[in-house]
């Protein structure tokens, strides 16, 4: 039990990454409301960003900004640059997804998946 607790404590952000990914996938597949499914995609994306920043963390380091004349250990700046791109692209695709939802709502009247009744095909 102590070993399990020690394991959980040492890998906290990685476990949060797994929890967020699981909750994101569950939201995407189980909800009939498209807005909540989109929020599941947002949670999944947040989990991936968390993972990349967590693997770049060093316990003895400071933020990745050089101070000329002093030697300090810096965190790994390369995943930070990749995740900046990922966040901005994520918000752009969020805008497009909300636009598509808005159009779906205007054309069909609701943003839920249509229920299929027995004997009806397609529409």
């Amino acid at each position: 039990m102590a070993a399990l607790l020690d394991y959980l404590v040492n890998r906290g952000p990685y476990l949060l990454f797994v929890v967020l990914a699981v909750l994101g996938v569950y939201l995407m597949t189980s909800h009939r409301n498209y807005l909540k499914a989109m929020v599941g995609l947002y949670l999944f994306q947040a989990s991936v960003i968390l993972f990349f920043v967590a693997i770049a963390f060093r316990v003895d380091s400071s933020i990745p900004i050089l101070v000329p004349g002093r030697t300090i250990t810096l965190s790994n700046p390369l995943p930070h640059a990749l995740m900046l791109t990922a966040i901005v692209v994520g918000v752009a695709t969020l805008g497009v997804a909300v636009a598509i939802l808005r159009r779906i709502q205007a054309e069909t009247g609701s943003i839920e998946e249509p229920r299929h009744e027995a004997g009806e095909s397609g529409r």
Partner: protein
């Protein structure tokens, strides 16, 4: 467009908020070399400062707001500025986006620092225009350019 939500508190806070947001966006852009930030947060702060008057006062008020066509033009201009800096380096003898071939400055490192600043300005303008344009599309009526 949605009915603007106007109240005394919002009208009073609108001016200082927009001023503070734009000044902070300019600061974040210019100090991207020395402190966290850079072009992307600056663009989004600028977009927030342009969306805020639309939410409070709508489009017909005395604020000079960006038109929907102007927002798309701004986005394209930002990306074009970025690409032109790259192509200028290409035409002046180097490879694309190699800022050491730009014709300003005396030292290679200073030229690269200036190149970084130029493209961050391009990114800021592009991101700000895109966010305002997406807001106009979402908040207006369907099939109509920008609503109202």
């Amino acid at each position: 467009m949605i009915q603007p939500f106007d109240s005394l508190m919002l009208r009073t806070l609108l001016g200082p908020s927009v001023a503070a947001l734009q000044l902070f966006a300019l600061y974040v852009l210019m100090h991207g070399h020395y402190s966290p930030g850079g072009g992307f947060p600056a663009g989004i702060l600028l977009a927030a400062s342009m969306i805020l008057p639309l939410l409070v006062k709508g489009r017909g008020a005395a604020w000079r707001t960006l038109s929907p066509r102007g927002a798309v033009t701004l986005t394209a201009a930002g990306v074009l500025l970025y690409a032109l800096v790259g192509v200028a380096s290409l035409l002046l003898g180097g490879t694309m986006l190699d800022y050491s071939w730009l014709p300003f400055g005396d030292d290679v490192a200073n030229r690269r620092s200036l190149g970084i600043l130029l493209i961050e300005v391009g990114v800021t303008i592009g991101v700000a225009g895109a966010m305002v344009s997406i807001f106009y599309s979402l908040a207006g009526d369907i099939g109509q350019e920008g609503g109202d």
